[in-house]
């Protein structure tokens, strides 16, 4: 079990109903974590989602560590 800080933006924030939460989870990778949270919050299926770990773009299959902050990034639309 590890503790992670999750921050939500845009469509994920709307579905999660919160902008951040602290999570105790068995998830080893961002991919595991996203699957877990998708079920819990009913995230919509999106064409491409990226992940950031500790405020930098990360890999879906990297190992998550105790205390990591994780952000899932839906398709961007700045400008």
């Amino acid at each position: 079990m590890k503790t992670l800080a999750i921050e939500y933006f845009a469509i994920f924030r709307d579905h999660a109903g919160t902008d951040k939460e602290t999570l105790h989870t068995e998830a080893d990778t961002p991919a595991d974590l996203f699957a877990e949270l998708s079920v819990r919050h009913g995230f919509p299926e999106l064409q491409t989602v990226k992940v950031a770990i500790n405020d930098e773009f990360g890999d879906w299959n990297t190992q998550l560590n105790e205390g990591d902050s994780v952000v899932f990034i839906p398709p961007v639309a700045g400008g």
């Binding site: 921050e7 933006f9 845009a10 469509i11 924030r13 709307d14 991919a31 996203f34 919509p44 299926e45 999106l46 064409q47 491409t48 989602v49 950031a52 405020d55 930098e56 773009f57 879906w60 952000v71 990034i73 839906p74 398709p75 961007v76 639309a77 700045g78 400008g79």
Partner: protein, 147 residues
């Protein structure tokens, strides 16, 4: 070289000063304004959200890439977040350089990359009463991949 996210109104006249230099003969700026329509829908207002830490990092990387690719003097990009009305200025890019060619090319490069890479999202509120996150509602598909 500065990339910034702010909640208050953008003031290009002020940020422009940072770009002035006696060696510069050309200055190109882009402004993204909130338009009253998008893809056939009448838009009432917009809401922008940014993942500020990463947006600022990625935006700064884009400015650095522009400076490496094109012989420009300086470049600044400021993006506004929060609720915006029709006609409001959402993003401003300013580039100064010795000659105009590189200022045009760098300015275009920066806004194109910002729109593709920087974690900023836009929710449109329509006259119809609907609303939606741009690029997120329409592209939702059953057989998706997030890998």
């Amino acid at each position: 070289m500065e990339f910034r996210i702010q909640t208050t109104a953008l003031l290009p006249e002020e940020d422009r000063h940072a770009l002035e230099a006696p060696s510069c003969g050309g200055y190109v700026s882009f402004e993204g304004w909130v338009r009253d329509h998008n893809e056939g829908q009448q838009v009432l207002k917009l809401e922008y959200q940014a993942y500020e830490q990463l947006a600022t990092r990625e935006g700064t990387r884009i400015l650095d890439e522009a400076a490496a690719r094109f012989p420009i003097e300086n470049a600044v990009c400021v993006h506004r977040v929060g609720e915006l009305e029709i006609g409001d200025l959402a993003v401003w890019v300013g580039v100064s350089s010795g000659h105009r060619d590189e200022a045009f090319r760098a300015c275009r490069f920066i806004i194109d990359e910002v729109k593709q890479r920087v974690p900023i999202w836009k929710k449109e509120y329509y006259v119809s009463g609907d609303s939606g996150w741009v690029n997120c509602e329409a592209c939702a598909t059953p057989g998706h991949s997030h890998g």
